[in-house]
């Protein structure tokens, strides 16, 4: 294979980079039983097409060569043959039936989401993923962590350019995991090729799919359904680990969440809210309202110098918590916790020349959330 690749790259005049050699140019076999089945269906239908292609194009090019005018000045005159027509209608039909049988079996398997040991709710949001380990009290959002400077070419691009996130989805190896997919805004599609899972996340509806990963490792994918400006910038990273490691990880995340909940009751200082708020803003808000709060009107209003934002705290709280229906502004009620909400609101009211001096305490946000 590598020799053939080298020959091709020489013939084409293009150097194939190591990445292509490593990642190949075919569908990955993947790391689940289902992904292997799907890969083998893919290769079967591919070879069927190759064989048909060789025969059909073989006859065609033979005819073009053998019956060219200089060699065959007088054409034959036949134009009908019922037997031949019947054969080339029936034969493809039989091939298709032979192909449909294994495809049907695999499809049934893919739809069998019963007996899962872990349920993960995946929620698409413009432009990040939210993972909720149902019944485990662990939930977090996962956004692109490739620096924008790499996108702009101001920094060298890393090997996993555009395929890095801040919080990967962690899953256990060997356990059946059921995914429940939904969306907060538009339709996204959660796709990890190595897991052979691709499922649209549709607002207002829940789709199901499942996976049982065979090998520990890091598997990367991307949103597959056009979902707006940053559709190309919402990758997926799945970290599969041994079941006991996974249990430990889950317990740790559960403790962290409990700690965070305690933070609601204490009084936060201006500086710590600003620091936290800047992080939240960069991860959640900046893709629409832009890194400097300048927005992208008319769809995404500016926050920097926005008079209403600076004058009306109640309105801002309501906007961030509940969203604005009929626009691209989602409700962050379930996405961010009270500390994060308080921090990001404090930040936007005191950054980029907005100088309200306000400090919004998590307790105030919690009270608002409870209404």
């Amino acid at each position: 294979m590598p020799r053939r690749l080298a020959w091709l790259s020489g013939a084409g005049g293009f150097a194939l980079s190591p990445q292509v050699l490593a990642n190949g140019w075919n569908m990955p076999v993947g790391v689940t039983d289902l992904s292997r089945e799907i890969h083998s269906l893919h290769m079967t239908i591919f070879w069927i097409c190759v064989v048909i292609g060789v025969v059909v194009f073989g006859v065609m090019f033979y005819s073009l060569f053998r019956y060219r005018r200089s060699r065959q000045p007088q054409a034959a005159n036949f134009h009908e043959h019922t037997t031949v027509e019947v054969i080339w209608t029936t034969l493809p039909l039989l091939i298709l039936v032979a192909m449909a049988v294994p495809a049907t079996a695999t499809l049934k398997n893919m739809y069998d989401t019963g007996d899962a040991e872990l349920d993960v709710m995946v929620t698409g949001q413009q432009w990040r993923w939210r993972y909720d380990y149902l019944g485990e009290e662990v939930a977090f959002t996962s956004s692109l962590s490739t620096p924008r400077a790499q996108v702009r070419g101001e920094e060298a691009r890393g090997e996993t350019y555009l395929l890095d996130v801040d919080n990967p989805l962690v899953l256990p190896v060997g356990r059946k995991v059921r995914f429940l997919f939904t969306s907060d805004d538009v339709i996204h599609s959660w796709w990890v090729p190595e897991l052979a899972v691709k499922q649209d996340t549709v607002p207002g509806f829940v789709n199901e799919n499942w996976v049982r990963i065979n090998e520990p490792g890091i598997y990367r994918g991307q949103c597959a359904e056009l979902c707006g400006i940053d559709h190309g910038f919402m990758p997926i990273v799945v970290q599969a680990m041994a079941p006991d490691e996974f249990d430990a990880w889950l317990a740790e995340r559960r403790d962290e969440a409990a700690q965070e909940a305690l933070g609601v009751d204490r009084d936060w200082g201006h500086e710590e809210l600003m620091t936290r708020g800047e992080e939240v803003y960069a991860a959640i808000c900046a893709s629409c309202h832009q890194p400097e709060g300048q927005g992208a009107p008319p769809t995404f209003p500016a926050l920097a110098g926005n008079p209403r934002l600076q004058e009306d705290l109640g309105w801002q709280l309501d906007t961030v918590i509940n969203g604005v229906s009929g626009t691209a502004m989602p409700a962050f009620r379930n996405t961010l916790n009270p500390v994060e909400l308080a921090a990001v609101i404090t930040y936007t009211r005191n950054a980029w020349g907005n100088a309200t001096g306000d400090v919004v305490q998590p307790a105030r946000v919690a009270e608002r959330l409870a209404r």
């Binding site: 893919h42 027509e85 769809t299």
Partner: protein, 543 residues
């Protein structure tokens, strides 16, 4: 119809044309002539010129996309503008380039191929054409509006195209309505012409396949364009009047949009390929100097494809969360389409078998069509396998697939048709030397552009992204180089056409020695008015 038939249509047509040019009701000159014309040949020319200009505009949009994708990172355009380019590229190519080109060919050639004096409804014909420049001026004008033009892909899935859409979407909807009305009126006209104006003696099963495929296409258009009109009207109501057809928060269903769209969209795919089958079925027998093999089965295969096209729409939606039975149903029906499509390819190849084949430019394009369309058919068959589609869906594999059936499919067939019928339109042969250059550059460009997309898609590259991970860089580099080669080669096409209109080797009435159909019995160039008295066609089995 006519009581007295001419001995030969050729004699009569020449006389008729001379008489018309001198008559007191002669058409106005200058721009007004084109605005008011009701002549099928002039309207056909308008359609074709409009389509060619839009082909270049849509092509420029594609080159903006390919330029940005030349290497990783964002270099030339912002994602927001990139999305507008992919969207408008698709919309313009489908609705303003390919569809009007086929309508233009239908206008020119259907009356000539069935021995009719004109289209059945000439004024309606004028109106259908002039709706188009209005529709697409509106659509293109959205680029200059606040918030930019449509940025939600040519499939404009809700709620991205409703709740989250730029303000210009209302203009996009109006533009699409106008284009849809134009298509419906054009289709009505074509059906009326074919059913009523065939020359005496020409039975349905004597019609050339281009006429047959267009008749079936016209029925598809009438069936599905109203569905498109319905779905964009529902969008309009959701955006401006507070309804919730596609808004889950108001009790609506975003997936309903996709069902409606693809119920239109899948037959639409065949609207863009059936006339191409007709063209290729005219050209291959001409240059193989042998009658088309299996004429009747070609007609039945076309009709089967048309009927099946109403039963496969949800194969575009395999990962949207359909129930298992629906997945199975749509997988089986989609696989079935391979059967009639295969029949067509086998018939073309058997037509070549034991022919006496020459390779003029129209034949080159028609042969490339057969090979490359079949490759698009193979990837289509792969996509039909629902479990595998979970991996293919919304990747560059799909982009490769539909560009293979649309570019070296539909568009090559249109180019083949232009080279084939230019002698009839202009009275001159197009330059064979330039035609060959155009052909070979196009074939190389198309394959360099779209073949690597199979690989980038299988390796995991999603569609419609302005920037990509590094492992896709090589494939995208090749695709972009190919796209620029293909794009700039099309300037040669314009040179060929302009040169051919201005002069060149004179063509006789029967410009290609193997040509059989009725259009080759009128002089080249075809006079403004032909078949004012219908020719008599001797009933005989179609060649």
């Amino acid at each position: 119809m006519a009581s007295k038939l001419p001995k030969s249509p050729l004699e009569h047509s020449a006389g008729g044309a001379g008489a018309a040019a001198e008559s007191p009701g002669a058409p106005p000159r200058g721009l007004l002539r084109w605005l008011l014309t009701t002549n099928h040949k002039e309207i056909g020319t308008l359609y074709l010129v409009f389509s060619l200009s839009m082909f270049f505009i849509g092509g420029i949009f594609a080159l903006v996309v390919r330029l940005e994708l030349f290497q990783p990172g964002l270099q030339f355009v912002e994602p927001e503008f990139f999305n507008q380019m992919t969207t408008l590229h698709g919309l313009i190519m489908v609705f303003a380039a390919v569809m009007p080109a086929f309508t233009g060919l239908a206008n020119w050639m259907i009356p000539l191929q069935i021995g009719a004096p004109d289209m059945a409804l000439p004024r309606l014909n004028n109106f259908s054409f002039w709706l188009l420049p209005v529709a697409f001026t509106l659509l293109l004008a959205t680029l200059l509006m606040p918030g930019g033009g449509p940025n939600f892909g040519w499939t404009f899935y809700a709620p991205l195209s409703t709740t989250y859409a730029p303000p210009s979407t209302t203009f996009f909807i109006l533009g699409m309505h106008l284009a849809g009305i134009s298509s419906i009126l054009g289709a009505i006209n074509i059906i009326a012409t074919i059913l009523n104006l065939r020359a005496p003696g020409m039975r349905m099963m004597d019609m050339p396949l281009f006429v047959w495929t267009w008749l079936i296409t016209a029925f598809l258009l009438i069936a599905v364009m109203p569905v498109l009109a319905g779905v964009i009207t529902m969008m309009l109501l959701d955006i401006n009047f507070g309804t919730s057809f596609f808004n889950a928060a108001g009790g609506g269903d975003p997936v309903l949009f996709q069902h409606l769209f693809w119920f239109f969209g899948h037959p639409e795919v065949y609207i863009m390929i059936l006339p191409a089958f007709g063209i290729v079925s005219a050209i291959i027998p001409t240059f193989a100097r042998k009658p088309l093999f299996g004429y009747a089965s070609m007609v039945y295969a076309t009709a089967s494809i048309a009927i099946l096209s109403f039963l496969v729409w949800a194969h575009h939606m395999f990962v949207v969360g359909l129930p298992l039975v629906a997945e199975l149903f749509f997988m089986y029906t989609t696989m079935l389409i391979a059967v009639p499509t295969g029949v067509k390819v086998f018939n073309w190849i058997t037509t070549l078998f034991q022919g006496s084949i020459s390779f003029e430019t129209p034949m080159l394009f028609a042969l490339a069509f057969v090979v490359l369309f079949t490759i698009g058919g193979f990837s289509g068959l792969m996509l039909a396998i629902a479990p595998a589609d979970f991996q293919y869906h919304d990747t560059y594999f799909v982009v490769a697939h539909f560009h293979y059936v649309l570019v070296p499919g539909a568009i090559f067939s249109i180019m083949a048709a232009v080279y084939y019928w230019l002698p009839k339109w202009t009275g001159h042969y197009p330059s064979e030397r330039l035609g060959r250059w155009h052909f070979w550059l196009s074939v190389i460009g198309v394959n360099l552009t779209f073949f690597p997309m199979h690989f980038s898609g299988l390796a995991g590259m999603p569609r419609r992204i302005p920037d990509y991970a590094l492992q896709f860089a090589d494939f995208n580099l090749v695709s972009s180089l190919g796209a620029f080669l293909f794009g700039f080669s099309q300037l040669l096409f314009v040179v060929v056409i302009v040169k051919c209109v201005r002069g060149g080797e004179k063509a006789p009435a029967k410009a290609w020695e193997g040509a059989q159909d009725l259009e080759w019995s009128v002089p080249s160039p075809a006079p403004l008015h032909t078949f004012e008295t219908p020719p008599h066609v001797t009933p005989q089995p179609h060649p």
